[in-house]
Symmetry: D2
């Protein structure tokens, strides 16, 4: 086995970040988020965004989505999401498991549209149906695409107008912000949402997601809610220290730019080999279609997920990360070229 | 401020353990518990206990209790626990929040008795009441006490006889195993329970709890359940690596013995000063009673929790850890002596 | 078998009420509570109480408690109730099953006291514990006792002051209102609570409970909540028609007075026979203690529940109803006298 | 207003049935389903079906679906249903509210196909996704269509083969059984399902649904589950008495045949007037499309639901019932003819 392109949480973490933990291994700090590092991180996020955000550090993405959504919704209220949305497909029913229906609508390149939201609102008219109450998007999306500022604004405005919460799943938010498509910054994400999370697990730290809540109603008693749902971390300060480093010198963007750059090089190679892939590719996920025979031979040297299996050919997913070795991207293309006899 | 005796999760982690992460920072590993380290840890636990245990790595203790109990019980089934039990008092309703009643009974020194269990079983007779179905204990307990082997065996046998699950919350299991009271090993814990968790957060790693399930019914589809409840960690392998080190050379026992030893020294000092404290103290938690004035003066230099506030005097809790500086224990006693004018 | 004193829901219903249904069997009426009868009943309750009550008709008592409490509370919020409370003991974990912890305190004669509530409030101090948020009482209580106006007022005022909801389970509210102890009317129940239910099942209708909500926050989207929890009745109008009759000419009080009167006659007889029973008895439930032998002989002719079984003697419960035959009460006493050889 | 074709739960109930309640108004009967009538009804259903069915009487349809499905599924398991299914659209999220995702697939005339089920099974491959575990159909369907025996058998066999539960929502089961399409009896419904419910509310009784469970795993502790979910009725015997009458002399089929016959007459009239309606129509629901102007004029005299509103024309639903006056069907057609100037 030469290399894995399976995901962006396959390497432990940036040594620079781990060193910080090592250097303060014996430092004494209060637990459960009441420590100075969690506080400093909250202040840092507030400074970066100029918004009155509350910060909660959580261990995993599905957990973050589940806990935020469960805070926002009564059981008779529902999420609106695209059919390919992570909450709908890849969370083993965690949202429904905590009591909330997800109403789905087709997306465009994995992105939700105001039209899609409006259609659902129009269909839900009386108390025999749920009340759509929270709009969920992920940015970058499950298909590796990135929202434009105007798309985010349009969704947020619609939510404001209709009394809906707007929540952004940012498992790969850095990857979106670092893409060439993103005509906005972290501050805009905060400005045009009620809550979002800034993913750490896929951005080079050991673990942890930073949930940031702007909407006052969602903030109320959130520490109680977090503990009740099993999401509170005794050593919140460990996660805070890692995030503080990510935000310093825009390390999170450097991580994401590297991942995106590696993906770009892979795509250039694929294009030269005329291998079809899902457009548009602006982040660190590439969905390409190869014959099953080619995939079998590639699998001898590389790890990746088979996204959509077919009888003759299948779609596979390549993911690059903050840690990806650019040389291995080149080698992958060379090896693929050999297999394809091109 | 000189020193904190507030808890055993106040220091980041043993540098030896952090170094292991640092050294393998770029290593590529599969996610979601399907990696060789999580597998190796499971094998290690099976070797240590000679039991067919399944391992699941989770980020926090309340979460672990909540997820295991929710797997074990239908909503019409209930937990039996002592009134001081962590699940009853200090989990912000997480067990009830996931649908399960806790039936409480007074303990002896924080420990559950077979008589207490039997009384509850006798009271629950028809379908207007819940069915008691899982017995919960923590070892060491919330009061720092430790079960004897014969006590654990008696509870387990009763559970076997009555068709109940027996689950041990081991947030401080190492501390129990390292105590002078424990006439048993990890293997006995596995032998005389259906499931238990081995706490890492309070034993010197960055975060993480190792949930170990022996009972076949509880194992079924547990990965699905874990993901559904938000407990699955993408980088399970990071936790696994840390636990592997804890189990090597009995490092977990060394950590716990150190904490227990520090507590012992504190108690010796308290006894010399004739300061009353809850007997029996065999682990790393000490509950002592001081005048509120003394507490106020101690608070200038030391951090600790006020466990049970009173008008004139209060009970405070001192906790030692794997990282506690034994010199600070001595200094604490000297300072207390000065305050007490003894 | 001569007669059953087992409960007050053992007879189908007052023929006068059933006749109303018979006479309008083919009448066409809208469903799901949007009908003129449900509306008229709501108006009737508003007139009787001079309070802006919303009415929801539900099929059963446990369901009513569960649905109201689930509307009022987040999962990190808890109910306060006496240990003998129906929600705590006799609902098979329905409240916890929908996510809410019940904090219990001893009552006096089955009645909750402000002191009991205050003690619980004082114990719950941080986000590791639930937030007590709703005070639950039943009136008449599980022990057949009745609150005085000043007791209800004191609890309501405390709730108002502390930001708690005050909810009255009125499965046997008519029985309380009809008792000699009750120095208040239905209007006071509405005035000094956030919500209550007026039980029909135990007051001579075929089925149905009238949930009445005064607090605005609890009213919000309640129809959605009711449907989501499975509590909405297609033929709400059937229940409404029966309740309209109950409220006409104070039929509900006549029903309850009859039941209470029958109980009073039984108690007079028991007192003459010097049979010990729980004081004070003002409603339609009597808890008396007899030797197991006497109970066995009584059981040949009468049905009743054994409330608290003992080795030599046990406590049994006699319940009278709107339909109880007063002659059978006399006969019961005569038969008991014979058995006791008095 | 002349007449309502809005639904089949708009009339109180068959006087013959109400009379039975009237005649036994004072009869004393045990509560909570432990009475001889509930038992007799269970025996009657077992005789009719030759299957070992357990019977539970519940007050409403959404509640019945919610409680059965919640018994069958863990939170990581899901329902498969057609997109138009009642559980998916018209239960205000009750299924998700109790923790279970619904996976939807397009139906043919509102009916689920084995191909639809298989496609969902193939898509759900690992622990990041739910496990499809229960197949839900309603018969007759939301569109008034009826399954053929061979369709039901095919679905049941597929479920047996794949380890899924097969559950039939029979809110309008009588209407299906009475239709010309149904080449089967109640016995076949029991034979080819794990559980089903036989609707009473829409078949001429005051309220109540009969849930019948054949699968042993679903039966386990069901009384506890029913009470925990708020579904247990104190006066189960009232519902049992009404159902016993429905089953006597095939009264349920007479009721349903009458409703279906009335619908047939309406359809004949519509066909003569060339009014388009959804084919095929074999039960008591008719979905027809008219201009909004025509609908407005019809609404002056008749009540019905607007099923799918459009800008110029809309689809309305006419429902007939056990109580429908056949003359009013004729009059409706005559009035429509006048409006249409035909």
């Amino acid at each position: 086995m030469k290399y894995s392109f399976r995901n962006d949480y396959g390497e432990i973490g940036n040594p620079e970040i781990i060193k910080i933990l090592l250097e303060s291994a014996y430092e004494q700090t209060p637990g459960y988020g009441l420590d100075p590092y969690t506080k400093a991180l909250e202040i840092k996020f507030r400074e970066l965004t100029k918004e009155d955000l509350n910060l909660y550090l959580v261990s995993a993405g599905t957990q973050t989505n589940m806990i935020l959504i469960d805070k926002a919704l009564e059981n008779y209220e529902a999420v609106i999401a695209v059919d390919t949305g992570h909450v709908n497909v890849h969370e083993t029913g965690a949202i429904e498991g905590s009591g909330h229906k997800i109403l789905i609508t087709p997306g465009i390149d994995g992105k939700l549209t105001p039209e899609g939201v409006l259609k659902i609102l129009e269909e839900h008219v009386d108390f025999h149906m749920v009340i759509p109450k929270l709009v969920y998007i992920s940015n970058s999306t499950e298909l590796g695409t990135v929202y434009r500022l105007e798309e985010i604004q349009a969704l947020y405005r619609l939510c404001q107008e209709k009394g809906l919460y707007f929540y952004i799943d940012g498992a790969r938010l850095a990857s979106a912000l670092a893409s060439s498509v993103a005509n906005y910054t972290l501050a805009d994400i905060a400005k045009y949402s009620d809550a979002f999370y800034f993913g750490g697990t896929k951005n080079g730290i050991l673990y942890g997601e930073a949930l940031l809540i702007k909407n006052k109603q969602l903030k109320e008693n959130f520490h109680y809610h977090l503990k009740n749902k099993g999401g509170m971390l005794a050593k919140s300060y460990v996660v805070a220290k890692m995030f503080l480093r990510l935000l310093e010198d825009d390390l999170y963007l450097k991580h994401a730019r590297h991942a995106n750059y590696c993906a770009e090089q892979l795509i250039k190679g694929l294009d030269l080999l005329a291998v079809p892939h899902l457009p548009p590719n602006h982040t660190n996920q590439i969905f390409l279609t190869l014959s099953n025979e080619t995939i079998a031979r590639l699998s001898e040297d590389y790890k990746f997920d088979i996204w959509s299996p077919g009888k003759k050919e299948s779609m596979i997913r390549l993911v690059t990360s903050w840690a990806t070795d650019i040389k291995m991207c080149e080698e992958f293309i060379l090896d693929l070229k050999k297999i394809l006899n091109k």
